[in-house]
Symmetry: C2
Subunit: 191 residues, 2 copies
DNA sequence: ATATTTGCCTAACGAACGTTAGTTTGTGAG
DNA sequence: CTCACAAACTAACGTTCGTTAGGCAAATAT
């Protein structure tokens, strides 16, 4: 990927995140780049190509994280905290892509869509595995694994809706708060 | 709203939930109803009208719930459990609308969009108020209120992505599980 | 029996869509 | 100086989009 292509990709994502993939036209993207719509096709072979690259790029970034975490040994709590931390970092450091990745992947078609869903399921399975580890170790409640993994991911993914780079919370702080919340809940320990 | 209009609305929502508002054409909706695109305009004055009705209808349903909960006195935990229960019920009992409401509200324009955002903020404030009550009562952790409310809502809203009416979990069971999760977290009590 | 309304139709509008073909322009290498 | 290549351009393609105008038939009200 050339420098220029990366540049155009970034600008495209900046436009796509605003109104969503389906509601954004190729002409919208071109306008943001002060170029003609047709010129985009020197770099990308279709509008969906931009979506595909964005989604799979994010999926890869996340996949690498969870694989690392599950390979290196930690206890389950450490594992989960690390996984959440990495996830939050990837999202907040790629906020535009993250929003497109989470919200617009449904607009993929054909084989791309199938492949994406496979990747997504694999990632979810990684989280389920961590939960299972915790249950085995006897430190997590015997909760429905799938349910827990989905609930964790949903609360983590939603940050793209409200996170602002100039906000009061850093990526690290968010990850810590979220981990605390997920692990210990809202209720005070009555110890 | 006439019987027929309600019927067409429901069918429209069933189509819209699949590919999303922006990616669904008026012709798609008409096809699902075995009628001509133009005929829809006997009932709705625009495509966005359908979105608007759907979003505000859901917002109203949720608003009614949270107002009730906050009026009647409960302790904070009861309050939160009831609010979550109502929220989950509204979502699962209107699954198509719920998905559109959560995912596609951004496609509203002008005054509708502004009004919707106001409603949404008010609803979030309702949840924040419950969290505040719990902090005042000394039973919730002194966590960032806005953060907690957003995290709660995100995990609750995400159920529209995976809830199936014929699934193994009833709406009640989901609400209970979610409430437990949110209140007590994943970690076992070390009491 | 007649008038009104409801619900859908056919036909078509102008605008916007994603994309292609073919061409020009600028830049760096031989 | 020329050649090669990348990156942009102009112009336009066929398609689909949301929507409107106007009419027709059946149901409902008078």
């Amino acid at each position: 990927m050339t420098e220029r292509k990366r540049e155009i990709l970034a600008a495209s994502q900046n436009v796509l995140k605003e109104k969503g993939y389906a509601a954004t036209s190729v002409r919208d993207i071109a306008k943001a780049l002060s170029m003609e719509p047709a010129s985009l096709y020197s770099h990308f072979k279709s509008k969906e190509d931009i979506l595909k690259i964005t989604c799979f790029d994010m999926a890869d970034k996340l996949e690498i994280g969870i694989a690392e975490v599950n390979d290196i040994y930690f206890n389950a709590e450490e594992k989960l905290r690390t996984a959440i931390n990495l996830h939050v970092k990837v999202l907040t450091q790629n906020l535009n892509s993250a929003m497109i990745f989470i919200r617009d992947w449904r607009n993929l078609t054909g084989k791309s869509l199938d492949q994406f869903i496979l990747k997504r399921n694999a990632y979810e399975a990684g989280f389920r595995e961590i939960v299972q580890t915790g249950i085995n170790e006897g430190i997590f409640n015997e909760t429905d694994k799938k349910f827990a993994a989905l609930t964790i991911l949903s609360s983590v993914n939603w940050i793209v809706e409200w996170y602002k780079e100039d906000g009061s919370l850093s990526s690290e702080q968010i990850a810590t708060k979220l981990s605390d919340f997920i692990l210990s809940g809202l209720k005070k320990d009555t110890v």
